[in-house]
């Protein structure tokens, strides 16, 4: 179980070593210490490895992740798990702006709050935020699910496509073309699965409201220009 101390070891060595992992490796559980807010830790991974980062991280931690399970024991800076393809990224603290931006797959779990634009441009990633999310979250969200146990800021789901949003608390306002939709049984089943995967206990899917696209802006029409 390798431990990499980023106080003494360059980031390049860590990322390079993680990129060189092969299926025959026994080094499937890594610990990273003293991240001290460094950017781009554990980016571009493509191997089913466990990474535990003990401390706060900067921008783009676990960016473009595939297969790996990355846990940040602390807060994460901007764009955590951006463009993630698969795997799991878990932030035990809060996350800054654009968490999970343009993610295509996998699961991002944030135990605390996420700032503005959480899930912006998401393309299939699932995101569970146990706290609240900031304004313009799920902006132009295309696919995937954003689950918010707390509140959502202004303009939630602005210009949303086919992503599904579930919010347990209040929503400050909905963005253009985002509307509340019925929470049907199939949604509850999916929501329950995501809550379980995120380790959320004692919360029922019935406590959520579902939001998605009104699909009125899918084709540009002059009658809709007042929407934006």
């Amino acid at each position: 179980m390798p431990t990499v101390d980023l106080a003494s070891s360059p980031l390049r060595e860590l990322n390079g070593a993680l990129h060189r992992l092969t299926p025959s490796t026994n080094e499937t559980h890594w610990t990273v210490t003293n991240p001290r807010g460094q950017h781009n830790i554990a980016v571009g991974l493509d191997f089913p490895v466990e990474i535990e980062i003990d401390g706060h991280v900067g921008y783009y931690c676990a960016g473009m992740n595939k297969q790996a399970r990355v846990t940040v024991c602390g807060n994460a800076g901007q764009g955590v798990a951006e463009n993630m393809m698969s795997g799991r990224v878990h932030v035990t603290g809060d996350a800054s702006q654009a968490a999970g931006a343009s993610g295509n797959g996998g699961l991002l779990v944030i135990d605390g709050n996420a700032s503005a634009r959480c899930g912006i441009s998401m393309k299939g990633i699932d995101i569970v935020v146990k706290g609240s999310v900031g304004h313009l979250s799920a902006f132009m969200a295309q696919a995937g699910k954003l689950v918010v146990l707390g509140d959502a800021g202004e303009a939630l789901g602005d210009s949303i496509y086919e992503a599904q949003l579930f919010v347990r608390g209040s929503v400050a306002s909905l963005g253009a073309d985002c509307i509340e939709k019925p929470l049907k049984d199939e949604h509850k089943t999916e929501l329950k699965r995501l809550l379980d995967e995120a380790g959320v206990e004692g919360v029922s899917p019935d406590e959520f409201k579902r939001y998605g696209s009104a699909r009125k802006l899918y084709h540009f029409h002059i009658d809709n220009v007042g929407s934006y």
Binding site: N15, N40, E82, S102, I222
Partner: protein, 443 residues
Amino acid sequence: MSAQDRWIHTPPRKSATFDDAAIAEIRRAAATGIYDIRGAGAKRKLPHFDDLLFLGASISRYPLEGYREKCATDVVIGARFAKKPIHLKIPITIAGMSFGALSGPAKEALGRGASAVGTSTTTGDGGMTPEERGHSDLLVYQVLPSRYGMNPDDLRKADAIEVVVGQGAKPGGGGMLLGQKITERVAGMRRLPVGIDQRSACRHPDWTGPDDLEIKIQELREITDWQIPIYVKVGASRPYYDIALAVKSGADAIVLDGMQGGTAATQDVFIENVGLPTMCAIPPAVKALQDLGMHRKVQLIVSGGIRNGADVAKCLALGADAVAIGTAALIALGDNDPALEAEYQKLGTTAGAYDDWHEGRDPAGITTQDPLLAARLDPVIAGRKLANYLSVMTLEAQTIARACGKSHVHNLEPEDLVALTMESAAMARVPLAGTNWIPGSNI
């Protein structure tokens, strides 16, 4: 008719302000209630490379022998940080154009043509297709604000990465690929419903400003293990500052796209009224690089309205390292071919003017996703035409460079140029022809 009768009314006189195009647009707007969207770049008359001339050699300079003495054209791009910089045999590359905006055969043809002459082609909004990768020896992978089709596997397959901040046809604007072109394959690559109008964002989702961009570039370098070059593409608007900030952000190379540069689909008012002409954007960009001690270290690739080897040579003389072509490459493939005039007429246009690329009805099979239309384009033949055209441009640039006594096209310099108009002299920062006067240089 008596002279008096003849002159009782003045002859019809059309307004220079309300010319035919302006009147037609007012009528079109009044009839439809919506602005005009079209492809291609600015069509208005702009200060351009035609306003510059090379001086050639004489007694004070001596030329190289045409057809005999070597004039090199190779370019290395991305040696600032990348372990594997791009080596181009010619200083002309193919600009980013998406699969989606262009058909599969068109993308393949671009790859074939570029590869045949040792240069690169570039993906676009919507990701990388296997055909494109397979037929492009050197492929630049764009990271765009929409992140459509963005994935790390393709990132690692690329020979270079281009972070697109803006485009000359629409600096500050995103895009709208209309539903007619969002076929099942295009939609699948972009994770969108089939047939909807697809908006391409104008801002990146996860960074804002040069400090963020620096971190973003570092992320891309980490993911690709610092192997391949990273370009930054900007539309020409404030080139001095944008180029300086791109250098500061860690770019290996910068693509500067002027307003004659094409687009797949943008509002006409945007194309014609926002941004700078290519020619006048180059000097401030080069000045920024020189001020930072980065000229020729961070390569400058210029695009927007490049048509022939003279344009290439003029860009290089002004300080660019290479150029990129888009519209011209499509014409070389067969876009706007007069042989298709009857079909253009049916579309309400004429060969040479067809620009409704967003509608997906291109009879040449290039700017379409209609399988029947796309099948009209033979990628082998079209690729050969593009290769021919690129070769001719290169020969033309070499011809001019030799006449100026240069053994490498990069040895062309502003001193080789003069301008035909005061405007172009001021913009290109070269003397007005026959004088030693550069307007504004002594102020």
